[in-house]
């Protein structure tokens, strides 16, 4: 389909090689393995048919008004972001191994690292990880490596998907203990935390806002952890950082985040962007690629991949991580997004989210049979308690109104009961959208 060689080309090339057929090139392969039967179509689609088939499939995901969040957020993606990352010079390049022929890409990685460092108020960042959860896993691994300790404290209100990924990143090994610090009214219980911290604690690993949408008192938690000699790994939603104290300002040792919040499409789970940052003393504990600024031999500014001797292609089984491909194009997308927003835009984004969620919470709490579960302040999502079963209510409203009212929590937190629903409203939600949700809830609860 995308092969330019004509029959004539093939013949000429075979002749140059000095063989008469492709089969002659395959002598090293035992014949019995070659050209086996495949249960694959004998015919293929042309481009037009493929476009039609893909459109039909995409239509199988009907447009709905969705109030889902829980770690992935509906964002408005500025047109300039889409246009710029579609440029073939970015889209179809590979890792900038030949620095002189990749200065544009390398500079954008440097700008990405700088932008997320600024956002998180941290010293250094790598060029990206797969997603927020894998960045979180790698950060906790680094904290365990640095301290040589085996106990990891996590908040009970950590996104359950992050906790599961975290355990996988420790090879589901029983050598490490993951201890959950309970919440009190939705927020990490600082008293319980103080009791659990000890000389065996590698780190306190938490997320803010937490899974229930509530910003934790991170400065206080961080202070408690550091007093016990434990490190702090914070996962912060970058879209919230225009409003909230960034991890660097409360002394986080490693700070990570799901960069999908920085203007990436939802795309059913990926590709997303794992933001990974740390204090400068841990720079060599960072997994993955890092770009640095240097000079060429004429003294001109230039950029290279640096600190490479930490990585798998050199250190092999002694590397801290196996990561090779990262999410470079997503990092570029986030960099452009942040450049378009600037500090003011980021603040507006935070406010637009907080106001949309506050508006939704006001309206939904006014529905008979629904109430907010927690009193603590929230960012762009909150837990609503409905008197009926949230799962069947969700299905009913989805079928009738094409509205997804949010994520029922009973599969994640059985203690909350069948009526707990995590509702999210980002900058994409209008007053009208939220009033539609309110009406649907009122009529179906």
């Amino acid at each position: 389909m995308f092969i330019p060689n004509t029959l004539k080309d093939r013949e000429e090339m075979l002749k140059t090689i000095g063989v008469s057929s492709i089969k002659d090139l395959l002598r090293q392969v035992p014949g019995k393995y070659l050209y086996p039967a495949f249960d694959l179509p004998e015919t293929s689609l042309d481009e037009q048919q493929t476009a039609r088939r893909m459109k039909t499939l995409a239509a199988g995901n009907p447009p709905i008004l969705s109030f889902l969040g829980a770690g992935a957020y509906e964002r408005y993606i500025p047109a300039a972001v889409k246009a710029l990352i579609s440029r073939g010079e970015y889209l179809t390049a590979y890792t900038p191994y030949q620095a002189e022929a990749s200065q544009g890409l390398l500079q954008t990685i440097y700008e990405y690292q700088s932008s997320v460092c600024a956002l998180y108020a941290m010293d250094c960042a790598n060029a990206s990880m797969y997603d927020g959860a894998s960045a979180f896993g790698e950060a906790v691994r680094a904290a365990a490596r640095v301290t040589g300790r085996k106990k990891v404290l996590c908040q009970e209100t950590l996104n359950p998907q992050y906790l599961r990924t975290l355990k996988t990143y420790f090879a589901n090994s029983e050598e490490y203990r993951f201890v959950t610090v309970p919440h009190k009214d939705g927020l990490l219980d600082a008293e319980k935390l103080a009791g659990l911290l000890g000389a065996d604690t590698a780190c306190l690993a938490f997320q803010t806002p937490n899974f229930f949408g509530l910003p934790e008192d991170a400065p206080k938690l961080s202070e408690l952890a550091h007093k016990a000699g434990a490190l702090v790994v914070a996962a912060a939603d970058p879209a919230s950082l225009g409003l909230f104290t960034p991890p660097g300002e409360y002394g986080a040792d490693f700070a990570v985040g799901e960069g999908q919040s920085l203007g990436l499409s939802l795309s059913y789970g990926g590709p997303y962007l794992g933001v990974f940052t740390c204090k400068k003393e841990y720079v060599r504990q960072m997994p993955g690629r890092i770009a640095g600024m240097t000079r060429d031999k004429d003294g001109r500014r230039g950029f290279v991949l640096t600190l490479q001797a930490r990585e798998q292609h050199i250190r092999r089984d002694k590397a801290a991580s196996n990561i090779c491909s990262n999410e470079a194009l997503c990092a570029l997308s986030a960099t452009i997004y942040l450049a378009l927003l600037g500090p003011e835009g980021l603040k507006e984004l935070g406010l637009a989210n907080a106001r949309a969620a506050a508006f939704a919470a006001e309206r939904l709490a006014a529905v008979k049979g629904a109430a907010l579960l927690f009193k603590a302040p929230f960012f762009n999502e909150f837990v609503l308690q409905v008197k009926s079963d949230a799962t069947s209510l969700r299905e009913k409203i989805l079928a009738k109104e094409r509205i997804d009212i949010g994520l029922p929590l009973k599969n994640f937190y059985q203690g909350l009961g069948p009526g707990a629903l995590l509702v999210c409203a980002t900058e994409t939600k209008t007053e009208e959208d939220i009033l539609r949700l309110q009406k649907a809830l009122k009529e179906n609860i």
Binding site: R284, L307, Q308, A309, R310, I314, K318
Partner: protein
Amino acid sequence: MPKPEEVKYTKTHEWLHVQGPEATVGLSDHAQHEMGDIVFVELPKADQAVEKEKPCAIVESVKSAFDIHAPVSGRISALNEGVAKEPVLVNQSPLDKAWLFKIKLSNPAQVKDLMDWTAYQEFIKQGRG
């Protein structure tokens, strides 16, 4: 500063200079030359127990990483923080300013197993390094 002829060598290119119960360890001039510009040195931890022929430190160039093995068993008794701050010393002064660490020997008899200058020269010449 010891002369190259005065120290012992390992097959993994460390040098060892014994002074009483303690020995100083560094990377040989031959090895630093082969590696090129050294950009990073990671030292062992203070007071760490080390075992003969087991890696305990790292020296990196831009495109390679080289494990430093303890030439003898013992306990780390001193670290050269200066070389960690200025890795270029490994290239400039491998036997003097770029000593890496000192070991308090737990089994001084192990020193006998190491090569002297002549044997090390022969070892390099045979390309076994």
